[in-house]
Structure formats: C-alpha cells, structure tokens
C-alpha cells in the first residue's frame, strides 16, 4: 500500500517537473538565475 502511494507521488512529482520543463522550453530564457542545458527533446 505504502509503496503504491509513494509511486503515485513520485509520478505526480515527475509530471510537475516535466510540465515546468515544457513551459520553460517555450520561453527565451529561464526567468532568472542560471539557464540549465535544454534537453534535446525540448529543442525545436
């Protein structure tokens, strides 16, 4: 039971992280601070 909840939480976290990455990919740059290397799949 606990491992299922943990897995679901982890999936949710990764979904949020991916959403942030996709949203940022459409911009010219990160809104401030360091610009990490854009992954190949997010490059147009």
């Amino acid at each position: 039971m606990f491992s299922k909840v943990k897995l679901a939480a982890l999936s949710g976290l990764f979904a949020i992280l991916s959403l942030v990455a996709f949203a940022s990919a459409a911009s010219a740059s990160v809104f401030a601070h360091y610009q990490p290397n854009l992954p190949k799949s997010l490059r147009k």
């Binding site: 976290l13 990764f14 990455a21 740059s29 401030a32 360091y34 990490p36 190949k40 997010l42």
Partner: protein
C-alpha cells in the same frame, strides 16, 4: 555539485518509474529550474532584507524576470556564477531606488522617458537573445517572443505612468529592473559575462 546531486536524485527516482533517459533529462531540467530559482529568490530576499530594500528589490527582480522570460539575455556558464550576479544586482537596484527615489521624483518623467526609450531601442535591436544552453532556432518563436517583449514593455510603461505619483520608489525600482534587463541584451554585456566566467574559472 548541486547539479550532480539533482541528477542523481532524478536518476534514482526515475529508474523506479522505469523512465527512459530523455524523460529523465526533461524532469531534471524542470527540477533544476525550480531549485535554482527558489535558492535565488531566497538569497535575494535575504540580502535585500539585510539592506532594508525588500519591496524595491523584488519590484526590480520581478520586472526584469518577466522581461527576461521573453527577451533572454546574457547568462553565466554555471549556476553559482549566474546566481552571484543576480543576488548582488537586484538588492543593489532596490537600495539605489530606496535612496534616490525622493530626490529623483522631481525628474520622474525624464527618467521614465529615457529608460523606456533605451529599453525599446535595446529590445528592437537585440531581443530575443538566446544562449548556448537554450538556442532559439525557430523564426516564428523569435517573432512571438519579440512581440510579447514589446507588449510587456508597453504594459510596464503604462503602469509606470499610472503609479509614479503614489509608489515612486517601487516604480523606480521596476524601471531599474527594465534598464538592467535591457543592458543584458547588448553584445557588450555578453562579452562582460564571458570575462566574468573566465575570471571565476581561473580562481
């Protein structure tokens, strides 16, 4: 070091979800953005509160950050280098604004005019400015980013005019943020940033 730590976290947790490398790279990119931005904002808050200019520093930061999202600009090669500049500049802009706003209020129309003219010129000539870590290759995206940048500048100009009598300190800080962001678009700023990178790499 922080980059490696984040990468390790994503790899270990992503493998539990049986994710492929590209999906993990995307999640890692998202995590880096969140972590660096959060640390940066906390540091700006901390330094600005020590200097007594939190509101003004955040006015400058938010204005510049919004514009930077669509216009890009010079970036350092490492997170610490980039963060060190940001965390010095915005509290400093806040302090400048707090200290000169009373005396500069009499010339507010001139400062507003000069800053926005300079911003429009910089954006017209250079925006959007990409960097090696995030190249902009699509011409349509470039056009859209330029359009949003100009729209934001126009909105900020309108807000400046409306609020400059009531909240001049904050308005001035925002204008200094716009000035800073405009300066980061110029090729000279990119060269200075590269020099700063080299200088820190040597030490």
């Amino acid at each position: 070091m922080l980059e490696q730590l984040l990468n390790k976290f994503i790899t270990s947790q992503g493998s539990k979800l049986e994710m492929d490398e590209e999906k993990m790279a995307v999640a890692n990119y998202g995590l880096q953005i969140i972590v660096y931005s959060t640390i940066g904002v906390i540091l700006i808050f901390f330094i600005a509160s020590l200097l007594g200019a939190v509101m003004a520093a955040f006015a400058a930061f938010i204005t510049a950050a919004l514009l930077r999202t669509f216009s890009g600009g010079a970036h350092c090669k490492g997170p610490l280098k980039c963060m060190s500049i940001t965390c010095m500049v915005f509290p400093l802009l806040g302090v400048i604004s707090v200290n000169i706003s009373a005396s500069a209020a009499a010339y507010s129309y001139y400062t507003t005019g000069i800053i926005f003219l300079f911003a429009l010129l910089s954006f017209y000539k250079f925006a959007p400015v990409d960097c090696a870590n995030k190249p902009i290759t699509c011409s349509l995206q470039k056009k859209q980013l330029r359009l949003v940048s100009f729209s934001l500048i126009s909105i900020f100009l309108l807000l400046s005019i409306v609020f400059q009598y009531r909240y001049y300190e904050i308005v001035l800080a925002g204008q200094l943020g716009i000035l800073w962001q405009s300066l980061t678009l110029w090729p000279l700023s990119i060269k200075i940033t590269q020099r700063y990178d080299q200088l820190l790499a040597k030490n």
